[in-house]
Subunit: 219 residues, 2 copies
DNA sequence: GCGACTTTGTTCCTGCGTTCACAAGCGGTT
DNA sequence: AACCGCTTGTGAACGCAGGAACAAAGTCGC
């Protein structure tokens, strides 16, 4: 087992997840082999970079031939830990929360929402994505009962920190935050921030910059 | 005008957007001054890095005092181009699309959805976020009439590429894609990819790695 | 009016990620 | 059985982002 665990860089992990998605699609399409070039273009990355990413898993391709789709898929899935289903709780079932709860992409990647929570009584009891929304009061017991280690926050910004506190107090160790605030959590708890509008803002900036610099390819 | 345009790095642009959000909140709260340290902790970054980011805009603080909230806010807003409202079209009004259309955070940051489109006749005509969903047939004319340069794709993966093609053909130059596929677009068109489940996957990996390496802080 | 303190702006440096380019290895062919 | 082409895996250089330390500058107190 002890493959010396060479510590995979975070940027590589993110791309491995993309490769896994592409490979799953190829496998469903009946493909049995791929080259690094084809896989790279399907994932939108550089072929050399893809090979370097894969090298962190040890040799898993055949020179002169390429990679076996099913084998590589299982290899990546094993490293990412997709095989074992992970229990997640989702707090804040507004538009975004409902979208996340209903998104089929999570289930196929080993994530299972075992509890949807909202503070608004009007939303409690409503069925979203196949299960009923629970009141916040049940959060602690559900986390304790299911040993959920991942929490997703999709609440308004104002209450995100207090939700974060409740999640960590309940035992959640990893938090994905969609609310536009920087959360502070105790050491040992991983918090990742996703801000949907930041991406849009970067895109707008690049577009504006491009429009403002019409001469560039002149020479 | 020719401020020498020092080419701001993309990572910095993304953080500027975050600073802008924090500053707006501070201004609404009545604050008039901030130090780099306070602003950095509110944004979740290193103080030195924040000052370096701000240095791309030229001197905009007062030594010994800090930054004037309103001035800095306007300065960043100007660089990011938030002052001029940007017209966007959104294709795919499912759960995620509806969440995006309804998200107030976009409007306050200079983005205006001037058209919501969906291929499903059952969704056409339904009001989402204050406006009616339009059929795909109207896409070209709306883009042409409003000179929208930004398109957001929130469709299923299978149709994302064809939607991308239609958007670029209609004249959209910047595309934000939420569908889990790598899109190919002609040169001159910016495509940015956001995959919601990738973040979750990275989080799960880090948590698993942490759990598997219990001894670390021993010495 | 002068000194000391505070905070910015900048410079250097370290480390990481990405890319290019080459050697190693395997399959197919003659 | 040997050769050739193709593809992987790895080594090295490049560029970039991040962090720490230092100098400049302005304000407050005496």
């Amino acid at each position: 087992m002890s493959h010396q665990r060479p510590r995979i860089p975070e940027a590589t992990v993110a791309r491995l997840a993309v490769y896994l998605r592409v490979l799953t699609g190829l496998a469903d399409g009946g493909r049995s082999n791929v080259s690094s070039g084809e896989l790279a273009s399907a994932a939108g990355v550089n072929p050399a970079g893809l090979r370097k990413d894969l090298s962190h898993l040890g040799p898993c391709g055949v020179r002169g031939v390429g990679y076996e789709v099913a084998t590589l898929r299982d290899r990546i899935a094993g490293v990412l830990g997709v095989e074992r289903s992970r229990a997640c709780v989702l707090v804040g079932i507004g538009n975004l929360g409902a979208a996340l709860a209903d998104y089929a992409g999570f289930g196929s990647r080993g994530f299972r929402f075992i509890g949807l929570f909202d503070a608004d009584p009007a939303r409690v009891g409503v069925a979203v994505g196949g299960q009923a929304v629970r009141p916040m009061e049940q959060l602690d017991e559900v986390v304790a009962a299911t040993a959920a280690t991942i929490g997703v926050i999709a609440t308004p910004a104002e209450v995100a920190q207090s939700v974060c506190d409740r999640l960590t107090a309940a035992g959640v160790r990893s938090i994905l935050n969609f609310a536009p605030v920087a959360l502070s959590a105790p050491a040992g708890v991983d918090v990742r921030q996703v801000d949907l509008s930041v991406e849009l803002q970067v895109l707008a900036f690049l577009g504006q910059q491009r429009a403002a610099a019409p001469v560039e390819v002149l020479a």
